[in-house]
Amino acid sequence: MESQLRRYTPFRGPFDPCPPVPFKTYVVPPNQFITFQPPDLPQFSLQEALKYGTLWPALFSPYESKCKGGGK
């Protein structure tokens, strides 16, 4: 699966006060698919680990912010 982002369309009622939102997104991080972390996973370098927020690339979840660019 390419990215951890998934999409759904919120319910649209006949009396909605605002225009309908096309879709909303949510993130499903990799740790949802790894029940028990296997040993000896490849690791980031220490500097990268600090930047990415995890020591193992397999568990990294970008979780980009919605405000710059994203959103729609």
Binding site: Q37, P39, D40, L46, Q47, A49, L50, T54, L55
Partner: protein
């Protein structure tokens, strides 16, 4: 010469310390659930040694990182001198 805390070296060492600490936290949490993973334990011990050495170097130059007996102090007493962490 009294090491001025706002020089480049100060921030470099702090960042390196932060990098080591983060990796150590990750490894520690990992090892809580993987007690038999020898490779990670070796990595953890190696990083701990590195972190202790770096912390000692830092404290030698710029004063204690922690107090209440977790770090030595020169004279005059260094703990309550500026800069404090939030001022750095």
């Amino acid at each position: 010469m009294e090491a001025n805390p706002c020089d480049q070296r100060y921030y470099e060492m702090l960042e390196q310390l932060q990098t080591l600490d983060f990796a150590l936290v990750e490894l520690n949490l990992y090892l809580n659930t993987h007690p038999d993973d020898l490779r990670s334990i070796e990595q953890f011990n190696q990083l701990t040694q590195e972190r202790t050495k770096l912390a000692n170097q830092f404290q030698e130059l710029y004063g204690p990182l922690q107090n209440f007996g977790r770090a030595y102090s020169k004279c005059p007493w260094e703990w309550n001198q500026t800069p404090w962490p939030w001022q750095v």
